[in-house]
Structures are given as structure tokens and as C-alpha cells.
Amino acid sequence: MTSIPYAIPRRRARHAVARRFEAAGPLTYLFLILVVLGSIFPLYWSLVVASHTNAAVYAYPPKLLPGGNLFHNIHRLFNAGIVNVDFAKALANSAIVSTVVTVSVVFFSALAGFAFAKLDFRGRKLLFVLVLATLFVPVQLGLIPLYIEMKHFGWLDNIKAVIAPNLVTAFGVFLMRQYIVGAVPSELVAAARVDGCNTWRVFWHVVMPAVRPIAAVLGLLTFMMSWNDYLWPYIVLNARNPTVQVAVSDIATVAYVPDYSLILTGCFVSILPLLAVFLLLGRQIIGGIMQGAIKG
């Protein structure tokens, strides 16, 4: 019944694109709010559980509001005697792994993307196709050979084994190449060369500044994937030297009766750094988009 009065102006507004964006009706908002609530609820729920005792998890009706136990649970989380893993070390490990992997992926992807987009060398096309082809090989297929490799290097139980295989990704190279082809005109590269840049300096002074917006996107995605990676770290690391995901899973398996409040405290704490990075890089991304708009 209420939808009819809104349906008419909305259809009319379709002619003017700008109007259409401004004229989001209440239904649009309602829909968006529902979607947001749906996505936030699991997070909220882990916070609720993390802030109660384990017994409260089984209460009926379920508790919907946060309790007062959060800091106590966090305190327990960082007590190796209780959870049987060094959670602080896990956090530090994850921070190191994700930071190194992110910086490396962004840097090397930009470097390779630049080469594929702007440099002339023999076999360029073939190599790029090969890089892309690796995208079609499932990760699981590589696990065993990679494990054997890490064993040979003597890197098992060391975070090197988590870092090394992820230092550059085919996806990153592809993303960067596509972006650079469009965002860095060949005359700009030529200008830099005539001005006195060697290839490395062209990359550093001209290409890197140009790829900042996409570097922020790639960095964000990579950090998230690296932080949340579970399978591979679980295979090559152990409970004494874990990443945060491995640590959380260890908390879940140490006791006969799982301490859900503790597990979800672990989850909650492990999400915080990710949120921080999102807020940090999100601004960069929006900045990049705005910059592009002004340039346009």
C-alpha cells in the first residue's frame, strides 16, 4: 500500500541519474538496514558471548545484551596456563605475517604489473598467461608439495613457512597490470626516462604514486586474507608458535567441554586489528577515488 506513492516518483527520477541517487526512498533504507544488521549480528553475537561466562551461553532465553565479563575473559585469554596457547605471541605472529605479506604483495605485484604493462621484453605475453594460469590451480593442490618444500627448508613451525609462499600473488600481479595499463600513459614513462629515470626510478617515482588507490585495495584484501588464513598456517605451525586463527582453533580443541565464551573472546580480539586496518586503509581508498574524480 505504501509502496505505490513512492514507486511513481522513483520511476520518473530514473531519467535524471543524479536525482535517482539522491532520491533513495524509505524502502531502500529499510532494505539496507536489514542487510547491515544481518552482517553485523554474528559480530555482535560473538561480543555478547565473549562478555558472559561460559554457563550463560546455554541460558534460555538467550542473552541478547553484552554482560560484564569481557575483560575477565580477555584476561583469561592471555593467560597461557588457562588456554594452553600463547595468544599474545599469536597476535604478534599474525601481525608480522600479515604486514610482511601485505607490503610484499603490494610491492611485488606493482613491480611485476608495471613490467607486464609497460616494459617490452621477450616472452612478455607468454609469461603473463603463465602467471594468470596459476590462478586456475586450486590452492589445495599445492599444499602437499609446498609442505615438502617447507620441510626441506627446515621452516616448519616457523612463521617463515607462512610468509614465504604468499609474498606475491598472481591475482595481485593481474590487478596491478590491468590498472597500470590504464592509469600510466606510455608517454609519462617516456617523459620520466628522458628526464633521467632508469627503469627502477620510473617505477618508484611515476608508477608507484599512480597506483596508490589500487594498492590500498590490494593491500586491504591481502591483509584480510592473510590475517584470516587458517588452513596453511594450521598445517605448518604448531600451538607453541601459532598465528591467531590457529590459536583460536587450539583454544576450541583443548578442553572436553569447549569454553565458548573464551573461544569467542579470542575471535573478538582477533577481529580488532582487522577493523583497525580497515578504518586506516578505507580512508586511503576513498581518498584515491576522490582524487581520481577531481582529475577526471
Binding site: E187, A191, R193, V194, R201, K295
Partner: protein, 366 residues
Amino acid sequence: MAAIEYRGLRKVFPGGAVAVEGFDLTIADGEFLVLVGPSGSGKTTVLRITAGLEEATDGDVLIGGEVVNDVPPMDRDIAMVFQSYALYPHMTVEANMSFGLRLHKVPKDVIKERVASAAQMLGLQDLLHRKPAQLSGGQRQRVAMGRAIVREPAAFLMDEPLSNLDAKLRVEMRAYLADLHQKLETTTLYVTHDQTEAMTMGDRVAVMRDGVLQQVDTPQALYDRPANLFVAGFIGSPAMNLVRTRLTDALAVTLGPTTLDLPEALLAKRPSLRGHAGGEVVVGIRPEDLEDAAFVPSANGSVLDVEISRAEPLGAEVIAHFPLDGIAGTARLNPRSTAATGKHLLLAVATDRLHFFDPDSGAAIY
């Protein structure tokens, strides 16, 4: 400052496209040489090879007397201005201009001084802290010029630097660049597809077609003595009227119903013409060598009767278009001419200034 010399330059791109062929040219120290030719004639390729951005397939490039074939761009001591300007978008005007100097480790105070003086010369003082995105086309063009000037290079290479400007600004910048060259006296290789630009700016003009140099000379010499049909048709606006016809045994040419006798003065300038008597030739008539007969008292017989298909009064002159022996003819007439669309008109031909070309080879007959 330095001379630039090309010896037997040749460039074949992978895939087989021959962009430059048998290119021999010397640009004197301090000269402003314009390389002109239609799009795709290989001008940019020559420039890029000069800058070291592209490798020649064959031949040598010499800058200041030294073969630089294997010298990377950064060590060639040349500056280049690009058609798209190619300013660094993330740098301010000042940073754009000083970038090359900073890379070459020029002392800070020298950089400051040169940037300031170039900015003053180009009227960029108030824009030094802007980014390229905040500049107009003309301002960007000047920054691109400034970036080249501060380098104080041995030579400037410019690839159609004015082609992205509107007509008025282009004319202004033309004069401006000519002034600048007078002041700096830096060897300049200037590429354009616009023959007007070539004629107005160059000390000498090199005409290029399909990768091959056609003729190199001063603008006036190119205009008066084109070496072949291509140069004759390319240089000059409106273009020369070129009509294929027969040279009679008595050394006269027929244009439609009219027979034009060739004066002795012409035959003296073009002695080889006698060898073509009785054969086919291409006759070339500059539009200004055709005049409304009413304004030529001594036209004595060298008169064409044409039907004007369009008359364009431009104030200082009238451009008349008419069919002439199967081609679209053009004439530049006295502004008082009564030429009007659809009317017949008698055109006097300055027969002593006719051009002749061999129809097979296209070479001019002198």
C-alpha cells in the same frame, strides 16, 4: 648545445611495419628544424629514436658529433615535450619542472634559480604549487615547455606540442616558441603534421612521407621549388592545383579547351621540360597564381574560362573553387573580384610560375 645527425636511419617494428627508411639528415647546432608529414609517416619514431626511447634497426644517430645509439635516454642530454604533455600528475608544477634536475643531482640553489627563471619566462610564477589537474590546457603546455627548458639540454625534441590547444592559443604559442628559440638558441627538432606550423616556425623544414624523407629546405624554397608531387601538394594552403595533361611538341600545355603557351622565362628555369615535349606531365598551379582576369591587364591569352562552384570571400581575398580538367581547382582572387557561386569567370594564369612533374616518378621537372 649540439648538432643532431642521422645516418642511414631505418626502423622496422616487430611485425614488419617499416616506420623509417634511409633517413639522412643533419640538424645544425642551434637550428630549429621542423619535421612535417601526415600522420603515420614516422615522425614520432624518428623523435623517439633520437631520445633513445626506441632502438633503430639500422643506422646511426649522432648528438654533438658522437654516436649515441647505445646511450640510454637519461645520458643523452636532451629534453622532450610530448603531445599529451605527460606531466607527472602527483607532482606540483614546481616539482614537475625540477624533477629532471633533481635526478641529475643538480645543486638545490641552481634548481631553484632555473625553475624561477623558466617560470617567469613562461608566466607560471603563480601556478608553481598547483598540480597538473588544476591547470588549463595552455598552462599544462607551458609547464611541459618549462620542464624541458630548465634542463638546459643539448637539444629539444618536441612531438606535436601544440596539437592539443585550440586554434587561437596555438597561433599564440607558435610565435611564443619562435621567440623562445631566439632567446635560448637551443637545437630543436620539432615534429608536426600541420604544414602551416612547419612553414611559420622552421629555420628549415623536413618533409616526410611513409618513413622516407622527401625534401629538406627553407620554408620558402620548399614552397617555390618542391622536389616532387607529394611536397607540392602537402606544402601550401590551399593546396597546389595538380592537373595531369600533355605537353605539346610546341611546348604548350592544354587545360580543358585552353592551350597555354609556356614563356621563355619558365623554360629557362626548367630546361629539362624540353625533354618532355610530346609527353604526359603533371602541371602544378598555386592558387595565388590564378587571378580574376579583370585585375590582370596583360593576361594576353593565358586565360582559363571556369565555372565557379563556390566562392568564399575572406575579406583580404576570395577563395574560388571550380572544376578544372577533372580535379577540384582552387584560386585565390583579388577581394574585389566578382566571382560568385554558379558564375563563369575568366582566370589569368601566371604561366611563368607553373610547376611541372613527371607523372610516373612524381619528381619535379627542373
